[in-house]
């Protein structure tokens, strides 16, 4: 049970980090420097 919680924490944190990368990309987008938008 604890193992599942810990692994869910890891996956959740990395999902947030991915979302953070996408946010950074959107912040660059108005300057025409975004890669995904």
């Amino acid at each position: 049970m604890f193992d599942l919680i810990m692994l869910a924490l890891v996956i959740g944190c990395f999902a947030l980090a991915m979302a953070y990368a996408t946010l950074c990309d959107h912040l660059l987008a108005p300057a025409g420097e975004g890669m995904t938008s």
Partner: protein, 574 residues
């Protein structure tokens, strides 16, 4: 302070200075894919890795794809190391029959080594099997260092390339850093350590009988191989709980010197690599010079503080009747290393983000503890870990040219790249992540019961222990102040969060800056360009680092080491 002590420091500085240029040139050739001495031997291995992983070495990535590769790779690294630690009792190479690591400690340890921090809430010889040490800790030490260097190289490419959509290929940079840089140096260093007396064996701990007839267990294992990468990677996690103060990890003065050179080598060389890749080695020497000045100030302050001794002891008659010299602070230090080598190692460890120790930092005087904290609080830009030290310093360069541009009314430029609002936004996001994690989590730990339960000392010293732990974790340093019992679910999880933020939420905006810079043209130097390769810029950059670091952390330092120093002068110790 003594002349031999200063000579030891000078010798170390000279060796690092001498290897910076040749190693920097080697790094530049390796990451450019050019021919090196080792390519005939390791080239086929590199190609085999690409084939096995389905990697197309010529297919370059945008900063976003590079960042996704970095994050996915390390997500799998944490999960793999976590499972290894949780299952170690049923895996081979566990001659001491050590049990599985608890879930919260396994998570903390996995995040710690994948983020190149090596914070250890455990004692290595009593917690981890040989397999966990070799296949877990050692492997992640290699990979975290290689990925840190890869990010630094991608960042440099942002400055060096013109109108480019890509910053490199993460998988290629990771492979080249591991194969051509880390592995060869570690093999040589490990052999040298073995020759000096560091154990390298899979035999179980030795059971011996002391002269008094008592039984004693002497821990040993595959120490030399882990020791080499522990130092070279900027990781710092010891095989033994006592780290590099243990005679099996650091047996002689020669190994002590080698260990410090290994810690600083790649971080120093990357400054030269930066200079070469942007077409001006002088730019690299400017960064090296700023790092050297900050390092010199730290080591001078530490040596003076520790050599002057405890001010309370200095008032005792017993001291002055025997000698006119003050008794230096030898508490927590190895007599074989003495004051100078201990102060030097502590400064190397905390400036480099390595975190290895050959003396107990908790036993340093309060002022020295403040210097160690300040070293980590400037975002590990004084050499730093391989990669992260360089990109941390480059972030400060961006802030410096931006501020200079505001002051003199010129468009900010750095090595031919215009610094616009988007780069400054990303830079601030990267620079704010570490202080936010450090100060926020320290504040929480100081007011909740699970946080207070771990304290080993009262008053400002206890507070310093908590502040040091979160500073060390968020700055991905990993050294411990000791005194704090951090092996609890609260500290294991919150420190893991600090390490996660300090690594990944810094590197994502760093890569974003790299991508946005790479897309720009290179502006030719003109009369309106602020020279960034002169002494004036060195002093300006120093000011920015000290003021930004100082303003962010000064209140936190005032509550801990500064007030403790002042109280020691009035005779109060904690």
């Amino acid at each position: 302070m003594t002349v031999p002590g200063w000579l030891q420091i000078a010798l170390f500085a000279a060796v690092v200075g001498l290897i910076t240029r040749p190693l920097g040139g080697y790094l530049a050739r390796v990451y450019a894919g050019e021919r090196t001495l080792l390519r005939p031997l390791l080239g086929p291995v590199e190609l085999a890795v690409y084939r096995a992983g389905g990697i197309k070495p010529d297919a370059e990535q945008t900063w976003y794809r590079y960042a996704v590769g970095f994050l996915v790779f390390h997500a799998f690294g944490i999960i793999a190391l976590y499972l290894l630690l949780r299952l170690q009792s049923v895996l081979p190479l566990n001659p001491q029959n050590l049990p599985d690591v608890s879930p919260d400690l396994a998570l903390n340890t996995a995040v710690s080594f994948v983020t190149n921090t090596s914070w250890q809430s455990y004692g290595g010889e009593t917690t981890l099997s040989y397999e966990s040490q070799m296949a877990g800790i050692t492997v992640q030490s290699f990979l975290s260092a290689a990925s840190g260097m890869a990010v630094a190289i991608a960042f440099i490419r942002g400055f060096a390339r013109r109108r480019a959509a890509a910053v490199g290929n993460f998988w290629v940079d990771l492979t080249r850093g591991t194969l051509y840089v880390l592995l060869p140096i570690c093999i040589v260093a490990a052999l040298f350590l073995v020759a000096e007396g560091v154990p390298q064996t899979l035999a179980p701990s030795a059971e011996v009988t002391t002269l008094e007839g008592a039984p004693q267990i002497i821990a040993r294992g595959p120490v030399a191989t882990q020791e080499a990468i522990k130092l070279l990677s900027g990781d710092g996690g010891g095989f033994f709980n006592a780290n590099s103060s243990h005679p099996f990890e650091n047996p002689t003065p020669l190994t002590n010197l080698l260990e410090m050179v290994l810690i600083f080598g790649l971080g120093a060389a990357l400054t030269n690599c930066f200079g070469r890749m942007v077409g001006s080695e002088r730019q690299g020497w400017v960064l090296f010079g700023v790092m050297a000045i900050l390092f010199g100030l730290g080591v001078g302050g530490l040596y003076a503080s520790e050599a002057s001794g405890n001010p309370v002891l200095a008032t005792l008659d017993a001291q002055t009747t025997n000698s006119q010299q003050p008794i230096a602070n030898m508490e927590g230090k190895e007599a074989r290393f003495g004051i100078a080598a201990s102060a030097l190692f502590a400064d190397v460890s905390t400036t480099s983000s390595d975190g290895a120790v050959n003396a107990m930092h908790d036993s340093f005087l309060p002022l020295s503890g403040g210097i160690l904290l300040a070293n980590m609080m400037v975002d590990e830009v004084i050499i730093g870990a391989p990669g992260s030290g360089l990109f941390g310093m480059l972030l400060f360069c961006i802030v410096a040219v931006f501020l200079a541009g505001l002051m003199i009314g010129r468009t900010p430029e750095y090595v031919g790249k215009k610094i616009g609002s988007s780069q400054v936004k990303m830079t601030i996001l990267a620079l704010i992540a570490v202080p936010a994690a450090t100060l926020g989590l320290t504040a929480i730990a100081c007011v909740v019961e699970p946080g207070l339960a771990g304290l080993g000392n009262a008053g400002p010293h206890g507070y310093s222990e908590v502040l040091y732990a979160y500073t060390s974790a968020a700055a991905t340093n990993g050294s411990a102040f000791a005194g704090l019992n951090a092996n609890s679910p609260f500290y294991n999880l919150t420190l893991a969060l600090a390490m996660f933020v300090g690594r990944f939420l810094v590197i994502v905006p760093v890569l974003a800056v790299a991508g946005s810079l790479a897309a720009q043209p290179i502006i030719p130097r003109s009369n309106g360009t602020l020279p960034t390769d002169r002494a004036l810029f060195v002093s300006f950059l120093l000011g920015v680092i000290v003021i930004v670091g100082g303003l962010t952390y000064l209140p936190a330092l005032a509550l801990g080491p500064i007030i403790e120093s002042l109280q020691a002068l009035s005779g109060t110790l904690y």
